[in-house]
């Protein structure tokens, strides 16, 4: 049926295939636990007196909350506590505030108004989940429905309702200046004017559920000394811990988060909503509290992969060379920002896809509407635009009458090509992937296309240069809402020029803090661009495992191998993998002789984890505690 082959023949000279453990199909450390049902997930931690928390959710897309009447709910059987927004110490956050990105825009619990169908307006904590659900149904909320907007482009219109007052223009504010993220490289308008074909189309990605088998959930319980333990299936332990500390206004030292094993994530377990909610419940009741989404909540309230709309316009020459590509993108962020504005920057850095195109422009909008907030999902920021780009490539191939694989190879980026985000491509392999996939499928491509290589021809002339770039200042924050800007596509009337060659410094990894933390260069198993020529000096702290030399110093299209600076080799054209000279470490200081010890401790058998207690049920995979 299916088959997998490892093409060790390709790029063999850049790789050392004699590593001892890396590259081996070692069985997973945790797989026996998974397949025998012994692995502990968050919900396998058992607590006596566990309480259950359920959310009261908005039935409206957009409504003002006039009043919440919880009296009847509080009198329901088994109810321990009704929780509302006023119980949340700091009820405003944005996920990426942990890395200083964006403004706080989202409450854990709505208080003044609800902004999407299903938003939390209160919680019930009860002895059983059934009792919590019954009490949720008894909470009376007096709503004043407000006009709502669901479509991203409708939300950009001047008369659209303001969804989230923190972003009153219904867009994320980029760099304190624009209502979108720009990408400008060369001059697309000039290129469209001389192109043989201009090909335009619009693509729409649907919202998609991450659909893990295990829904988002957490159990929190008081520990000693005023601490709280939280068992969670988060995808980001310290994201969830930091978010909880902020929302609940508590030092992070009071929080003990335990996770590490999730029943699927795919991006849907980053948002850190269940963790602060469960810990809040434990703080308010002094009891263990579980808060977990049911399948409906996972699918309709939990954040999906957001819808994305992309318009692409290509300028193409008769021979299939793409000379210009323009994007207009709309990210459907939902009512709150979460991770979408960041994904747009990721997506912008990805444009124009894996191709060498000399003129590229893009405007991408992060749009707020009365919709379930979107979040990460496998391929975040990339999946939808790749769908759009690759469907568009097929349109281009048809327009110029070319084999679609040959069209990709013709336009593919190669080592040393300048990318639209103004950094040189390196370590590319698109052409080889195209050739191998075509071969496997028996889809014949020309001998010329088969002869191409990612290693050759990149960075030559225009391909490696940063062109003079047309810029504009359209789409300043607030202009669209004021009716002064309508067009969403990159400007047709550029007002500025950035000179050719303009680029800043590439950012590379922080150096190791201690040379002992650096693996020996001959043990990393692949070639790196580091110190060729001169013998490696004493290994002072320096970029790890071979950071590329700063781009400024990159040789201008001299070597076809471009960004790789192979170790000196007799063969000038085809460098082969060589063991670099071993570094000479400083002489090891002679340690003082330790006092003679009696026979040191030595276990008779290797350590094994865990104990089997007689009398314990083999089917009880939990920690029972009070």
């Amino acid at each position: 049926m299916s088959s997998t082959e490892f093409r060790k023949d390709l790029f063999a000279d850049e790789r050392d295939d004699t590593l001892k453990e890396i590259g081996k199909p070692t069985i997973r450390q945790d797989i026996l636990g998974h397949v025998t049902g012994r692995t502990k997930y968050f919900d396998d931690h058992l607590f006596d007196g566990l309480l259950h928390m359920r959310a009261v959710r908005s039935p409206h897309h957009h409504a003002r909350i006039r009043r919440i009447d919880t009296e009847a709910a509080a009198r329901m059987p088994g109810v321990r506590r009704v929780v509302t927004a006023k119980d949340v110490p700091v009820n405003l956050n944005t996920l990426l505030s942990l890395i200083n990105f964006g403004r706080d825009d989202e409450p854990l619990c709505a208080h003044d108004k609800v902004r999407f169908l299903g938003e939390t307006v209160a919680w019930i904590i009860a002895d059983t989940e059934r009792e919590a659900r019954d009490a949720v149904a008894q909470v009376r909320v007096d709503y004043e429905p407000l006009p709502h907007v669901l479509d991203v482009e409708e939300a950009l219109k001047p008369d659209a309702p303001v969804v989230n007052e923190v972003y009153p223009n219904n867009t994320f504010d980029y760099h304190g200046k624009y209502d979108h993220q720009k990408l400008r490289f060369g001059d697309v308008n000039a290129a469209f004017a001389r192109a043989d074909h201009v090909i335009e189309a619009e693509y729409q990605m649907s919202p998609i559920e991450q659909a893990p088998i295990e829904t988002c959930g957490a159990i929190a319980a008081p520990e000693q000394n005023g601490r709280f333990v939280c068992h969670t299936n988060t995808q980001a332990l310290f994201f969830s811990l930091g978010t909880t500390a902020k929302l609940l206004d508590t030092p992070s030292s009071r929080l003990h988060f335990i996770g590490g094993t999730a029943g699927g994530g795919f991006g849907g377990k980053v948002d850190s909503i269940v963790e602060p909610t469960a810990v809040l419940g434990a703080m308010l009741t002094g009891r263990p509290v579980k808060f977990a989404w049911d399948r409906y909540e996972e699918m309709q309230v939990g954040a999906p992969r957001g819808g994305e709309r992309w318009r692409i316009k290509d300028g193409v020459m008769r021979d299939g060379t793409i000379i210009a590509r323009e994007f207009t993108g709309f990210f459907d962020s939902g009512a709150y920002m979460r991770l979408s504005p960041y994904a747009i920057i990721k997506g912008t850095g990805h444009l124009p896809g894996p191709y060498s195109i000399p003129n590229v422009a893009s405007n991408v909008y992060c749009v707020v509407a009365n919709r379930t907030p979107a979040t990460a999902m496998r391929g975040f920021g990339i999946t939808a635009v790749d769908f759009s780009i690759e469907c568009h490539m097929d349109r281009v191939a048809e327009a110029v009458g070319m084999n679609p694989i040959e069209l990709r190879i013709l336009n593919a980026y190669r080592d040393g090509d300048m990318k639209a985000h103004r950094r040189k491509a390196k370590n590319t392999a698109l052409i080889e992937c195209c050739q191998v996939a075509a071969g496997k499928a028996g889809w014949s491509i020309s001998a010329d296309a088969m002869a191409q290589s990612s290693l050759r021809g990149g960075g030559l002339g225009e391909r490696g240069a940063i062109p003079e770039t047309a810029t504009d200042e359209e789409g300043r924050i607030g202009e669209r809402r004021a009716g002064r800007t309508r067009d969403t596509a990159p400007s047709r009337q550029p007002t500025g020029r950035v000179p050719a060659g303009h680029a800043g410094q590439a950012v590379t990894a922080a150096p190791v803090q201690n040379p002992d933390m650096e693996i020996e260069i001959e043990r990393i198993g692949h070639r790196i661009a580091a110190q060729q020529g001169a013998a490696p000096a004493p290994r002072a702290p320096q970029p790890p495992a071979g950071q590329p030399t700063p781009p400024r110093a990159a040789p201008p299209a001299a070597a076809p191998q471009s960004s790789y600076a192979p170790p000196p080799s007799p063969q000038a054209t085809a460098p082969t993998y060589q063991q670099p000279p071993a570094p000479t470490p400083p002489p090891a200081p002679t340690p003082p002789t330790p006092p003679a010890a009696s026979e040191p401790y030595k276990p008779e058998q290797p350590f094994s984890r865990g104990v089997n207690r007689p009398g314990t049920s083999r089917f009880l995979s939990g920690t029972r505690r009070r």
Partner: protein
């Protein structure tokens, strides 16, 4: 009424690691008294194999058997900081942190062994089977277990290491979008063969042939699992899934797996994969992390194959039978792509 065969192509690249950096990962490694190594992390294993790949990385870097390494994650009281498992950062960021922590622990281990063997630590090497020997003189050796014992009980030395890996945060330019988005990219190309039934609008994907370039397959089985599972997800995204069938209207949203459509086990498509490995220079042993990118090329390749089969451009996902039947009606029937 007929079945139409179609073939579509797509190729992609994928950025590895959190865009624009600023996402550190840390690791701590220490030896038990008898020379087994514990790796403490806060990374999350979502099923992608985080624990296993970091275990193998630690084993390779330390130079000890993989059975002697155990990964413990994620307890915020004992595991050092890590941003999380997303943005294709697990293998790249955490893997690099584990290399650094293991390298430091190895350095301590070799120094302890050097003292026992009365040689210079730089003259020592490991055999990956639990022994440390003098380079070129395999008989002059000591076991890792004896080294750990001596280090702890005779020399008063820990065999431990710390590691952190950080791409410092940077920004995108407001005017040009200039940025250093990530430090390496994975690649893929893929051919879909499928059939479209012009009576029912049903699409059946028959075969996938693909090439994925992953830097280095740190564990070939984990790579294979990701690629086969990812292709399944790609087919599902292309043809079945959405939480909002009437997007942007929110009506008729599925609430469970009875109404949220996905292909079943019987619809897993035969998939012939070629794995290419071009190591990335700042990735752990060159490995880029194949998990996130592998569904991406499937979506457009399916759309392109449907156009090839019946001449309908389906630019709005998912490509449901309804959309195909409406397209056929608008086109006056199937119009297979002529030449290409």
């Amino acid at each position: 009424m007929a079945i139409h065969k179609g073939r579509g192509f797509a190729c992609i690249n994928y950025p590895i690691g959190m865009n624009l950096g600023g996402d550190p990962a840390q690791a701590l490694v220490h030896s038990t008294p008898d020379g087994k190594f514990m790796v403490a992390l806060s990374a999350i294993d979502l099923g992608q194999g985080m624990k296993s790949v970091t275990r193998q990385i630690a084993s390779e870097t330390l130079g000890v058997p993989v059975e002697d390494v155990y990964v413990d994650t994620a307890d915020s009281d004992t595991g050092p900081h890590d941003m999380g498992s997303f943005a294709s950062r697990g293998t790249h960021r955490v893997g690099n942190a584990v290399i650094r922590a293991s390298a430091e622990a190895r350095k301590q281990m070799l120094e302890a062994a050097a003292e026992e063997l009365e040689v210079n630590a730089s003259d020592l090497d490991t055999d990956g089977k639990g022994n440390i020997h003098v380079k070129g003189a395999p008989s002059r050796s000591i076991t890792v277990a004896d080294t750990a014992m001596a280090a702890q009980f005779k020399q008063g030395r820990t065999l431990a290491g710390r590691g952190i890996f950080l791409i410092p945060p940077s920004d995108a330019d407001a005017e040009t979008g200039e940025m250093t988005p990530v430090t390496c990219f994975a690649h893929a190309a893929l051919v879909i063969d499928l059939e479209v039934d012009d009576e029912t609008g049903d699409v059946e994907v028959k075969e996938i042939n693909s090439a994925y370039e992953v830097g280095r397959a740190l564990n070939p089985k984990l790579v294979e699992q990701q690629l086969i599972g990812g292709a399944w997800m790609g087919v599902s995204h292309a043809l079945y899934e959405t939480t909002e069938p009437q997007y942007p209207k929110r009506d008729h949203g599925p609430q469970d797996f009875n109404t949220y459509l996905m292909p079943g086990p019987g619809q897993i498509v035969p998939h012939n994969i070629a794995v290419l490995e071009r190591p990335a220079e700042d990735a752990p042993f060159g490995g880029k992390g194949p998990g996130e990118m592998c569904a991406n090329p499937v979506l457009p390749a399916v759309a392109n194959a449907i156009y090839n089969a019946v001449g309908i451009r389906c630019d709005r996902l998912p490509i449901t039978p309804e959309k195909i039947l409406r397209g056929l009606r608008a086109n006056g029937g199937a119009r297979p792509q002529q030449v290409r």
